[in-house]
């Protein structure tokens, strides 16, 4: 039977355990600093916590992947290389990276360390993937969410690097790894600081007419009294273009490939990734459990696979914006 890994987010030790206990094949974590793209206060692992988490995962036969997927600049280069060294010492199963200079460092200093190319590596074609393989011997790539199903299938056919795709979670509408919108507004971006629309730049205003969310002073969205308000991720606000106010870039919605798991399997995907290191252990438990059941059902009998209504309901309950989409996999979304 085809082997497809379920890769789940671990933003904290409780979340890691929730993933491990509910059927993840691998978990991914980051250190408590800007070396990874979920650099949020209160999240992630220090050295001791990472060691504990790795031990727990390994005891249960679950792999641990270390996200080290931001881009060091000259002044903090050593901090990033030390993180690579620490990951190697801790005995993680692979590090997920994006920066070319840092990939070279990892490949030459720790040749035994398995390297995965992060979605932040922005590799949207087999030629790009093969570049990273040629240069750094990456063994797996996480695909940016910009390709249609047929494009993913063709890509997989043209590379022998393993392909991992996002199956559930918040959606980035821009190609990952090359988005500077957040630093334009706040001075911090996923590439430079591991943050998008960072909390320290967020301000809420409330009065009788409702609530408004701002990012470094820029009005991202406004809500009438009683209207449910979301975190002001800057590309998911409502803006005015050509005289009309709308979700001009993207509405808050969640990616869900629950319906299309057979297509992923057919395409040759080796792993399905759940987004959400910043989400709660309850989210991780819920999503891991549902996707484990769905993946098992799909692997056992892909021809007759149908997502159960209770799976859909459970995932919708934890989805961003409470709706879901296929993203760019669905041509109409583009």
């Amino acid at each position: 039977m085809q082997k497809v890994e379920l890769v789940c987010p671990a933003g904290s030790l409780p979340a890691l355990k929730a993933a491990v206990d509910n059927g993840a094949d691998a978990v991914y974590m980051g250190f408590r600093d800007a070396t990874n793209a979920r650099n949020f206060p209160g999240l992630n692992f220090d050295e001791g916590g990472a060691a504990k988490g790795i031990r727990y995962a390994h005891e249960h036969g679950v792999k641990v992947l270390l996200a080290l997927n931001t881009f060091p600049q000259p002044e903090n280069w050593e901090q990033w290389t030390r993180a690579v060294d620490l990951a190697a010492t801790l005995g993680v199963d692979a590090i997920i990276m994006a920066d070319p200079g840092l990939l070279r460092y990892a490949a030459t200093t720790h040749p035994e360390l398995r390297l995965h190319l992060s979605v932040q590596g922005s590799a949207t074609s087999y030629e790009a993937i093969n570049f990273y393989q040629r240069q750094f011997c990456i063994q797996r790539v996480v695909l940016p969410r910009v390709l249609s199903f047929s494009q993913v299938t063709r890509l997989i056919a043209n590379t022998d690097v393993e392909v991992e795709v996002f199956g559930f979670g918040s959606l980035c509408v821009m190609v990952e790894g090359r988005c500077a919108l957040s630093s334009y507004v706040t001075g911090e971006s996923p590439n430079t600081c591991g943050a998008c629309s960072p909390a320290k730049a967020v301000r809420w205003e409330e009065d009788s007419s409702g609530r408004r969310s701002r990012l470094n002073g820029v009005l991202i969205d406004s809500y009438k009294p009683g209207e449910s308000a979301g975190y002001p991720v800057l590309c998911k606000g409502r803006f005015e273009v050509n005289g009309r106010v709308d979700y001009a870039i993207e509405e808050p919605t969640s990616l869900s490939l629950l319906d299309r798991l057979p297509d992923l399997l057919k395409a040759g995907v080796v792993a399905v990734k759940v987004e959400g290191r910043q989400r709660s252990p309850a989210y991780v438990k819920q999503v891991t459990r549902v996707l484990r059941q769905a993946l098992d059902a799909c692997l056992a009998d892909p021809e007759n696979y149908t997502p159960r209504p209770d799976w859909v309901a459970q995932l919708d309950r934890v989805a961003e914006g409470s709706t879901h989409t296929l993203g760019a996999l669905d041509r109409a979304w583009q």
């Binding site: 500077a180 334009y184 273009v241």
Partner: protein, 295 residues
């Protein structure tokens, strides 16, 4: 320090493009980047057309580079990129790792464009070893990062910095101009061509914010580092890039050229240019601040 005109980011008619480059040929610009870096559906000019424009620019004494697509998703986009890499006459600007693969396979010298993530000296070394002869600094990096990277810059590698224009900040599989016009990307009717300098996106309180340019999202404000030219020169920057605008491009070129040559004071040149162009400027990234900031 040389003056470059970056690749045209917008969709203009063949006539407008031909006319624009005729004026560039007559201007004191040193280097011209040609080609489509945003969307493969924009086919008013073929590779042969770009090569013809290139010949005219070379006759006028300009150095010409052919730029490649930043976000590639389809096989036909990869094929187009490979054809450009194999053109045999003009060096190419790589804006994606697929292009980097192609140039390294072909063992061609190339320019690492601003959408290759060159954030540190190790990446700079790698690019130089792969055959890069120039790198263009990513939009969001600061003067301080540039200074440190210049200290350990590999020999023979030139540095270029974006100093004027709306900054390309993000790329997507989705076309935002088509979305605004309620058109699917597959039947976009090239509506991005209606906006010669992009489609403004503002906040609900009427403030300018970003600019939509098809699948590319740009800054709302125009980046302008005219007053920082001497700092750029002191840091050993070889080329400064002006991004094509539909209006007043000649005045922009003249202002930058005059300051570089020492024929104009930066502050007064800036005032004069502002009065003519009437755009709001930003320079935050250079100073290590949010890109939209003005120092």
């Amino acid at each position: 320090m040389k003056l470059a005109v970056g690749p045209l980011l917008y969709l203009w008619s063949r006539e407008a493009v031909t006319d624009f480059y005729a004026r560039v040929a007559a201007s004191p610009v040193d280097i011209v980047y040609l080609g489509e870096t945003v969307c493969s559906k924009r086919r008013f000019l073929t590779l042969a057309d770009w090569q013809m424009l290139a010949e005219r620019l070379v006759s006028a004494g300009k150095e010409v580079i052919l730029s490649t697509l930043t976000l590639m998703e389809s096989e036909s986009e990869l094929r187009t990129m490979r054809r450009i890499v194999a053109n045999g006459q003009y060096p190419i600007e790589a804006n994606d790792m697929a292009a980097l693969y192609a140039v390294t396979e072909a063992e061609e010298a190339f320019i690492a464009g601003p959408h290759i993530n060159t954030y540190n000296q190790a990446t700079l070394e790698l690019l130089a070893e792969l055959g890069a002869r120039r790198w263009v600094m990513p939009m969001e990096l600061s003067r301080d990062t540039l200074a440190q990277m210049q200290q350990k810059r590999p020999d023979g590698l030139q540095t270029e910095v974006f100093v004027y224009g709306r900054m390309p900040l993000a790329f997507s599989a989705r076309c935002f101009t088509a979305r605004n016009r309620n058109l699917p990307k597959d039947d976009c009717r090239l509506c991005c061509g209606d906006y010669a300098d992009g489609l403004p996106l503002g906040t609900q309180e009427g403030e300018g914010f970003l600019t939509l340019n098809g699948i590319q999202t740009q800054s709302g404000l125009v980046c302008n580092l005219l007053t920082e030219l001497s700092a750029l020169e002191k840091l050993g920057v070889d080329v400064v890039r002006l991004s094509p605008q539909s209006q007043h491009m000649e005045q922009v070129i003249t202002a930058f050229h005059d300051v570089i040559q020492g024929n104009a004071e930066p502050e007064s040149a800036q005032k004069e240019l502002s009065a003519v162009v009437g755009e709001e400027y930003c320079n935050g990234y250079w100073f290590g601040e949010p890109g939209m900031a003005v120092r």
